[in-house]
């Protein structure tokens, strides 16, 4: 008997303010797998990541999403998060007056609480956080500051990876985590993602560029155009895209859809 996939998306259709963005997206993700979703601007990549995380403002008009066999779309965003869905944001917001350290400790504690465990000891947590911050090259003074306040673009992205590592979810959705990073920062972020990777984890990585895949090798690559996946393949697909661009696939889609 086949194992239940961690994430199963069937024929997902999503609109934003009457405009159709996703037009029938299918995806199946098992634990242990890394999927990259690539596509041109406006193809619906970020919408897909946001809808999975439960961001308000999107209307699901069709299809379904199962996470560990449960209806993900019925769950509140915080329930999804506690069930192990993590979104690394493309544009992380600033949270004035909320210190990263306390914010993340609260996030850890709500998970523990749900499992009926005691709150984490402050000292234990601080030690963990310091260690993990070092791993993504964030100064330990930064975790004592308000979340993302005054952080550079690269620092914000590294802070997302820090949170990924501390919260230890099952499914990581990385929304253009590579965009706007210089090569050193990209390496740090990729290392963080690779450390997270494992037989019990799954990653869905949304990106515009092939560059990040030099550092994070996916098991599968899917090409998203006009709201659905038009081509899936192994890592070699990235190189083909790099050489030919997205237009090549767009043409295939258009000729195919008229058939």
């Amino acid at each position: 008997m086949a194992e239940t996939p961690l994430l199963e998306v069937r024929n997902l259709e999503v609109s934003v303010a009457e405009t159709e963005i996703l037009t029938g997206l299918d995806l199946r993700v098992n634990v242990g797998e890394v999927h990259a979703i690539m596509g041109p601007n406006g193809s619906g990549k970020s919408t897909f990541a946001n809808v999975l995380a439960g961001k308000p403002g999107y209307t699901v008009t069709g299809g379904e999403v199962q996470y560990e066999g449960k209806d993900l779309l019925k769950m509140l965003p915080d329930e999804r998060a506690r069930a192990g869905v993590f979104l690394a944001f493309q544009y992380p917001v600033e949270l004035p007056g909320i210190k990263t350290r306390e914010f993340l400790r609260t996030a850890v504690d709500v998970r523990r609480e749900e499992r009926g465990e005691e709150r984490i000891k402050v000292r234990e947590f601080n030690k963990l956080l310091e260690e993990r911050a070092k791993a993504v090259d964030l100064d330990s003074a930064m975790v004592k500051r308000s979340v993302n306040e005054g952080f550079s673009g690269g620092e914000k992205k590294r802070n997302e990876i820090l949170q990924l590592s501390v919260l230890d979810p099952k499914l990581a959705l990385l929304d253009e985590t590579d965009s706007g990073l210089d090569i050193d920062a990209l390496k740090i972020v990729a290392e963080g993602v690779n450390r997270f990777r494992g037989p019990e984890k799954a990653i869905v990585l949304v990106t515009h560029y092939q560059r990040v895949l030099n550092y994070i090798t996916p098991d599968y690559i899917h090409v998203l155009i006009d709201g659905r996946i038009v081509r899936s393949g192994g890592p070699e697909l990235a190189l083909e895209l790099e050489a030919k661009g997205y237009d090549w696939l767009r043409e295939t889609v258009e000729s195919g859809s008229t058939a």
């Binding site: 509140l76 998060a81 909320i98």
Partner: protein
Amino acid sequence: MVAPKAPSKKVISRESKLDSDYKWGFVTETDGDRLPKGINEDIVRLIAGKNNEPEWLVEWRLKAYRHWASLDYEEPQWAMVDFPPIDYQDIYYYASPFKEKRPESLDDVDPEVLEAFTKLGIPLEEQKQLSGVAVDAVFDSVSVATTYQKQLEDVGVIFCSMSEAIEKHPELVQKYMGSVVPYTDNFFASLNSAVFSDGTFCYVPPGVRCPVELMTYFRMNSEGTGQFERTLIIADKGSYVSYLEGCTAPMRKTSQLHAAVVELIALDDAEIKYSTLQNWYPGDKEGRGGVYNFVTKRGKAAGRNSKISWTQVETGSAITWKYPSVILQGDNSVGEFYSVALVNNRQQADTGTKMIHIGKNTKSTIIAKGISAGKAQNTYRGLVRIMPGAENARNFTRCDSLLVGDECGAHTVPYIEVRNKSAHMEHEATTSKVSEDQLFYLMQRGISEEEAQYMIINGFCKGVFQELPFEFAMEASQLLKVSLEGVVG
């Protein structure tokens, strides 16, 4: 040696089985004393008589009463608050849990009254007292007990009820009472001057750093009763005192009037830090009942290098009308005002400060954070006045408003009067809404919407909370949380 475990300093928050968001709304049955309803010269004399007041004070009260009566029930109209006419003849101006004078010993205080304070987290019995905080407990019109008095006396600090101060330190009271807020100051201050019944008095002698936090806890209990207390704090040369007040009241369908006067005087090199957690009953969701908190608070930084700092967290009351102010008279004196005002449901707040710069090199800072939720209205109103002689005066003002939902309002009304060209003025103001993106970010990390909302608002208030003594900052946070219950969903 093992130190005895200090009781926790829970001041405002308290678990309760009451079926309401307001957890301090219980009523205490007392078998005390009360004067008939209404106000006239006889009532004023009777209140003075309760305390055998000296003739000068009785006269002062009567002058205040006559001035107030000449105002013909005309309250100030300029504030952005709206309430039905108050029938000043339908209020009890004096209610006491005691039949006669306040008993010398706590053993003779009605156990119900002591129990009320224990329930509020302010146990008065010696073995249970809060550690490191001296408390004056005011119940309706009178002070019930004052803790730590002996220890304070040893260092020369006078901390007692106003009635005791009038009896034992009349020269200090006479010298300073009304010196900052004259009885003609405004409608509610005049009313208070006529009928004030008790309150807190504090004098810190030269060079003394008050060893504990001083606190007054105000409890309004009896129905239809107004509370009119006076607080007078004098920090003599080179002294320091940190004072905190907390307030709660039972839930009543009708509104209750609270018209207090607070006067602070800081002499040369002295510093007074005054913190308020105001949690009077705010009324129900439809705006029925609740306390009208019409309060005059003013400090005079009279001496050179003196400093007066107000920090207030206002979450209660149906209507808040208060402007804790500083007269910066001494050269190099400093005035500060840090405020969080949160209104929910139908609450209205019109609050802010006045900084009057008179001395040279005087400096004032105003940080005001207003949060509006439900259908509530919140107004910041502040005056900064630089007098001609105030060379090199500086002011920094920052007012931030945060809106929760679409039906509430936030208003900022700054008044700036500069009569000396050397002044440096800075004014910043922002209005924002709790952003969907911030909420989603927190929720994506597993935090519930209600908790996320609270974290954002708490973060917004950080700059003010950090000015409070540590334990009270925790309390303030807690209070914010309780006041926001029901905002989400």
